[in-house]
Amino acid sequence: MPFGLLKYGLRKTYPAERHFPLARDLKPSYDVVIIGGGGHALATAYYLSRDYGITDVAILEKGYLAGGNTARNTAIIRSNYLTPEGVKFYDTSVKLYQELSQDLDYNILYSERGHFTLAHTDAAIRTSRWRAEVNKHLGVNSELIGPEEIHRICPVLNMSEDVRYPILGALYHPPGSIARHDAVAWGYGRGAARRGVEIHQLTEVTEILQEGGKVKGVVTNRGTVYANKVLQATAGSSSLVAKMAGFRLPIRTIPLQACVSLPVKPFLDQIIVSGSLHVYISQSSRGELVMGGSTDPYGVYSTRSTLDFKEGLLGHMLELLPFLGEMKLNRQWAGMADMTPDFSPVMGLTPLENYYIDSGWGTWGFKATPVCGLTMSYTVANNKPHELIEPFRLSRFEEMKQVGEKGAASVGH
């Protein structure tokens, strides 16, 4: 909208646009209730209203909109996974992301950077080659490159062999990107709200009503709401909500910590990740270095911070970028990640009829936001799992058909 932008720029005042209608009372019943108000929930509501005409939808969020893991990730988008199931799924997401600003008419600050997964051991080189071949076979741009090529593309990286873990090579994934995570949620939320979806913040679900193996509705702190269909999209609290619905999940809730530095002039175009050192780092559009590491060594339902995390992360990071020795940290945070035994999500139908789940988002949730919305809306509308998420069904564990996704960020190689 270039003329709209020009008109706005020439105004004396700059009126802020209201994204969401003001809060109102809950209706007694809805067609679809979505528990959780993060990116996945908002995206699902958006596609439900846009593609299936299902607009009688209420999003019930315990806290504030997109304040959970949507606000607590490191905003990296990529599709260079290891399993064919994972690659197809995340690649659909990357393609949706590339068009998302246009689609939502909302700037999500999508920025294609190129993504390096550094390899410091022979084993990591082997995994990188494996990933590159699977990626290329499925049409994803990804290749194994050596130290000279790494240095050419990203000259700030310390390629010295005189360090504890010299860089031997890297899996290079040019489409790897970052985006403004809040904008993704706001854009989807605005699009859904415009089509009639109701968004209710500070609305906590305390009970899930069921009758004869079918979901009937939910009890909240603001009263009972009946619904034909209910979707749970509450990463971090997945097990607790599923327990209310009467089933258990193969999930452990483990914090994942991250931090940002003070903003500095742009010097790092690429996204640098090391699976072996458990470091990922990129520079945001504001100039802050966004840094994350591995998940905590044990499970906690808390977003507390630990010194061990920073020592571990920054020690390794200084080996890759030694000139950051004087850099100051600005903020740090943690999110509660749903870790599954096979590093893949748990999505689709559940033992409770008309009750759907979007969970198991360990370290791979943000990049999957659009494809989750797309596939979960299909699943809810048709009461049948979308083919892309069929491999991620809950019952794969009793069938012993796990999807061993060793391309996930938290997996060492």
Partner: protein, 102 residues
């Protein structure tokens, strides 16, 4: 650094330990159905609150049990597994039903 009290070695840094997950009762491997066994292997209670879990002191390979609050991250008690597991578990071979089917 957070300190954990190892029943064998006394108070040590938490980085010396690894987390082994929930203590859950093992069904009889010889009689249990495949579905129940898969559930035992994969499914978690993932409780928010006080839980009983396996921990290992890595330098001495000593496995023990800890009671911990997963919301406040407080370690309430640690003790040797012998306090819970009083008798030896025998892994007798399962009947050869599977082989006969083939």
């Amino acid at each position: 650094m957070k300190i954990m009290n190892c029943p064998l070695n006394g108070p040590r840094n938490i980085s010396e330990f690894i987390w082994g997950g929930e203590v859950k009762p093992m069904p009889d491997p010889a009689r249990v159905s495949d579905r129940e066994w898969a559930e035992y292997v994969h499914i978690e209670n993932n409780t928010a609150g006080v839980v009983r879990e396996w921990w290992c002191h890595v330098p001495t390979s000593f496995w023990f049990i800890a009671e911990r609050n997963t919301v406040t991250d407080e370690i309430l008690r640690t003790y040797p597994a012998g306090e819970v597991f009083k008798s030896r578990v025998e892994f007798t071979a399962a009947p050869k039903a599977n082989e006969e089917k083939k």
